[in-house]
């Protein structure tokens, strides 16, 4: 199903949004439409065991009646359903109390045009995905390894309109491949993501994971403790969304639960650390506007170790004088607050080979697993290493090691960055799956990283 086949299209969605708005008697009304068609081919034990297609859309209406806000949604575009969802939103609003902090839905601002729809991704067939999976499974089997993973192709249409003139429409596509290759004693991981399915070389992704799996066989024990670590881009790409979740949003900031609170303009991590969010960056998975139809602005979150400020939506911006939304609203209702999902970290000068060569003793970490916050203000998280952890001694990787648990402050760790990779890789974490965006990050060599326990494999 390509761009003209099954897509609703801008004209139709504009018409449906205008129809929906026309039936609302609220003071202000907003309509958000998210259409997603996802096809995912999943494999394990080196064969395709799950293979799915889903076609869904959500129409979410926010009605504002004298600062009382009601929300309703449906997944039916018929006139009857749209009238019904507007009525539900209005009913919900009528039971509300006035929210004095709510100022207004956003007024229109110019939205940049981005062309990010790749026909061949949208048109990718089950057969083509199966062929890509076969390019991973057969080489894995030849090495007596077990291949697992998933290849997804998605097409999205986003449309937002409100009763005070906002209208925005954006179609886009996404291809996302991840694989874990296992032996009896070790495993390796690799992934690739792009707007364009043809930009993903499944065989190459498979080779990367196979190589890691072969080198991970028969890992040895190493004691927990503080180590110098080299975090591959996958690992950094897992830490970054948790830092974002903990502290990059205005809601946490305004509730004094963000590390940024009280620290604007102050140094909180290493001078070589610069992190920003930019929804328009074509090197990421671009998204020109948020779920209120507000154009995305670049936000410098941390610059040379110094706190810049959080991301905002219209509601949180309205709580601060002269503040405007930075275009980071999530769909309502939202208890997360605004969230950055096109994050990047500035690259450095080092190759990963140089990082290894300069390490007297340390650990190479491919990936992290089950990361969770432990202390919000100190940005402490815990998690496990996974799928390729190695001991480095005297400038060489000498042996695979069994996986370790870390309990570590992210900002403290970043403050120990001795070297930063010269290339940034686009990564996507599972809990961002519903959004167009990713973390574009380099590898890091960190002088100190705390591992607090170990596991048996």
């Amino acid at each position: 199903m390509g761009k003209d086949e099954g897509m609703l299209g801008e004209a139709r969605l504009k018409e449906r949004i205008e129809y929906t708005l026309s039936t609302s008697k609220a003071d202000q009304t907003e309509v958000v439409v998210i259409r997603e068609r996802e096809q995912l081919t999943r494999f394990a034990n080196s064969y395709i065991h799950q293979n799915v297609s889903k076609d869904d859309l959500e129409i979410r209406v926010r009605a504002v009646l004298d600062k009382k806000i009601g929300i309703a949604s449906t997944n039916d575009l018929s006139d009857q359903a749209l009238r019904g969802v507007v009525e539900s939103a209005n009913v919900a609003a009528s039971y509300q109390q006035r929210n004095p902090d709510f100022l207004s839905l956003p007024w229109p601002r110019p939205i940049p045009h981005i062309d990010a729809f790749v026909e061949r991704t949208a048109a990718c067939t089950p057969r083509k995905r199966a062929e890509a999976v076969r390019d991973i499974c057969i080489p894995a089997k030849e090495q007596n390894l077990n291949a697992s993973g998933a290849l997804a192709t998605r097409e999205y249409e986003y449309a937002v309109g409100n009763s005070i003139g906002v209208f925005a429409y954006y179609p886009t596509t996404l291809a996302d491949l991840r694989t874990v290759i296992m032996s009896n004693t070790g495993s390796g991981y690799a992934a690739a993501v792009s707007l364009d399915i043809d930009a993903i070389d499944a065989a190459a992704v498979g080779r990367e994971a196979i190589d890691k799996a072969l080198r991970s066989r028969n890992p040895v024990d190493v004691p927990p403790g503080e180590y110098t670590v080299i975090l591959e881009e996958y690992a950094v790409g897992t830490l970054m969304p948790y830092l974002a979740y903990i502290g990059f949003g205005a809601q946490a900031f305004q509730e004094h639960q963000s590390f940024m609170y009280g620290k604007l303009g102050q140094k909180v991590t290493g001078e070589n650390i610069t992190i920003w969010d930019d929804g328009l960056d074509p090197r990421n998975l671009p998204m020109p506007f948020d779920f209120e139809g507000v154009p995305k602005l670049r936000v410098d979150l941390i610059s040379k170790g110094v706190v810049g400020g959080p991301v905002y939506d219209t509601y949180t911006a309205g709580k601060e004088p002269a503040r405007i939304s930075t275009g980071h609203a999530l769909p309502v209702p939202n208890d997360f607050g605004p969230f950055p999902w096109n994050v990047a970290m500035e690259t450095g000068q080092a190759s990963k080979e140089e990082m290894v060569a300069s390490t007297k003793k340390g650990l190479w970490v491919t990936r992290m697993h089950y990361v969770r916050p432990v202390h919000l203000l100190k940005t402490v998280v815990t998690g496990m290493t996974r799928d390729g952890t190695f001991l480095i001694e005297d400038g060489e990787i000498v042996t695979p090691v069994k996986n370790l648990r870390f309990t570590q402050s992210i900002l403290e760790a970043f403050g120990e960055a001795e070297q930063i990779g010269r290339e940034a890789v686009l990564t996507r974490e599972a809990f961002l799956e519903n959004f167009i965006g990713g973390m574009r990050v380099p590898a890091l060599k960190l002088r100190r990283f705390a591992f607090t326990s170990a596991t048996e494999f």
Binding site: S53, D55, V180, K378, M384, R405
Partner: protein, 480 residues
């Protein structure tokens, strides 16, 4: 609906499916959120759609759509066939579902008071009164409350002749009081953390938990935690309260006993399991007093239903009996590999997802202890309750948890309040150290409405029965 089902199944068989099933699902949801005296959101949501699952050439295919229309049903069934044929290109052998499952019936969640008939005024009023009570404690920065009500109607039909209608009703409520200090954020939740406590049933579920009567205490405790002593580090005796014990069961028993995980089909995402099939029937998972069951028939349990999403009736089964690992959560396909029938744990997140093996209600069966006696019997230790953070490795061995609140136990008495409590361990050693479980009077079924699994990711609503239990020689105070 019957016509749509018949159309999809007939078409699938005509096009070569050796098996097909269809689920049509309609979901209504009502959610209310209150924060600091303001009703932040009232949301009324609906979704409908269907999914068709087929086996063609011995391989699976699945397709789904939100459009409940005749031509769309044909298109989706045809797409499912095409997908299955593609799966067969990279085959692991022919799928075997075992003997046919033919069940015709219906199930409705027992409900005393339909939550959708209770006025929004009543719900909002209760939450606002709770909010006010939480903020009576000076120092509470954020008070939050929410309710959630779900009604899901599903029709399941298969080419084997099953036809099942179900209506599942869920009710949930949660309060959180957050206090913020110079370097600390502390929160207290009730009845459960991470959103809410949730179960199957009507509005009577909320009345059971006296949220208003507990609200002020939450605020007081959140503030008190700001100046409480940090949980010490060391190895000690640990007593876990019911909600934290429920999550411990979830992470360290529920997930590793999912047979699909043990057979490697979740390796690329959440991982595998240390409970490999060779361990079944012999492995010492825990001490002799540890008994863990899976029970989809438990009243009010969040994992309670009439039939799973393969049409297999809900049932109760042992996973761990007298400390020994004796059972998995299974599906038709996985159970048939062992010559067994499914024990009915296949569940899908809505119409657009395939069913996966999921927890139902995974329960640590009650023991014999009175809580006061268990504490009095403990010389030195820590009591921890209400989860704040959780993490476990990808075989479900190494875990680390944090709780909202803890108390020192000294000479059999509950003592100082402790903050930032954490503990860590390895699953079999941890459960092997369990030497006391409280009785039925302290036991309840706790809802975990946010269990993630699968690619694309799915969220399951599961339950855990738990009371209070004691564990010896546990590493506590892990955070640097």
């Amino acid at each position: 609906m019957d016509e749509l089902c018949a159309r999809a199944l007939n078409l699938a068989q005509t096009k070569g499916a050796s098996y097909a099933d269809i689920r049509l699902v309609t979901t209504e949801t009502q959610s209310i959120a209150v924060k600091n005296g303001i009703v932040e959101a009232i949301s009324l949501d609906s979704s409908q759609g269907f999914g068709v699952r087929v086996i063609v050439d011995g391989a699976w295919g699945f397709a789904s759509s939100a459009r409940l229309e005749r031509d769309q049903v044909e298109e989706v069934a045809t797409l499912a066939i095409e997908i299955a044929r593609a799966s067969a290109m990279v085959s692991g052998g022919l799928i075997d579902l075992g003997p046919p499952e033919v069940n015709v019936g219906s199930y409705r969640t027992p409900v005393e008071l339909d939550p959708f008939e209770v006025s929004l005024d009543r719900k909002v009023d209760l939450l606002l009164r709770c909010d006010k009570a939480m903020r009576r404690a000076r120092g509470v920065a954020v008070a939050e409350g929410n309710m959630l009500f779900i009604r899901e109607d599903q029709v399941f039909a298969s080419t084997e002749g099953s036809l099942i209608e179900q209506q599942i009703v869920e009710t949930g409520v949660g309060l959180v009081a957050t206090a913020v200090g110079a370097d600390e954020v502390q929160r207290r939740s009730y009845p459960n953390s991470f959103g809410r406590h949730q179960g199957t049933g009507g509005f009577e579920f909320i009345d059971r938990y006296d949220v208003l009567g507990n609200a002020e205490r939450l605020g007081e405790e959140a503030v008190a935690l700001l100046s409480a002593r940090q949980c010490p580090s060391g190895v000690t005796t640990l007593i876990l309260g019911p909600t934290q014990l429920a999550l411990q069961v979830h992470e360290s028993c529920g997930h590793p006993t999912e047979l699909d995980r043990a057979l490697g089909t979740e390796a690329s995402y959440a991982g595998t399991s240390f409970l490999t099939p060779d361990k079944l029937g012999t492995f010492c998972y825990g001490s002799e007093i540890v008994n863990i069951t899976a029970d989809a028939t438990l009243p009010r349990g969040l994992g309670t239903f009439g039939y799973d999403d393969e049409g297999v009736p809900a049932q109760r089964t042992y996973l761990v009996r007298d400390g020994v690992f004796v059972g998995y959560l299974t599906s038709r396909e996985t159970a048939s590999r062992f010559g067994q029938r499914s024990n009915g744990t296949m569940r899908a997140d809505g119409w657009g997802s395939i069913p996966l093996i999921r927890m139902t209600n995974i329960n640590l069966e009650p023991g014999k202890w009175e809580l006061d006696d268990l504490i009095a019997d403990t010389d030195d230790g820590i009591y921890m309750e209400m989860n704040k953070s959780w993490s476990i490795d990808d075989k479900r061995l190494n875990f680390q948890f944090g709780t909202e609140i803890a108390y020192e136990i000294k000479n059999g008495q509950r003592g100082d309040l402790l903050k930032n409590a954490t503990y860590a361990g390895m699953t079999p050693q941890f459960w092997g150290s369990c030497d006391g479980i409280c009785h039925q009077g302290h036991w309840d079924v706790w809802g975990t409405p946010n269990c993630g699994k699968g690619q694309p990711s799915q969220v399951a609503h599961v339950g855990h029965g738990a009371s209070v239990a004691r564990f010896r020689d546990v590493q506590v105070g892990v955070m640097r």
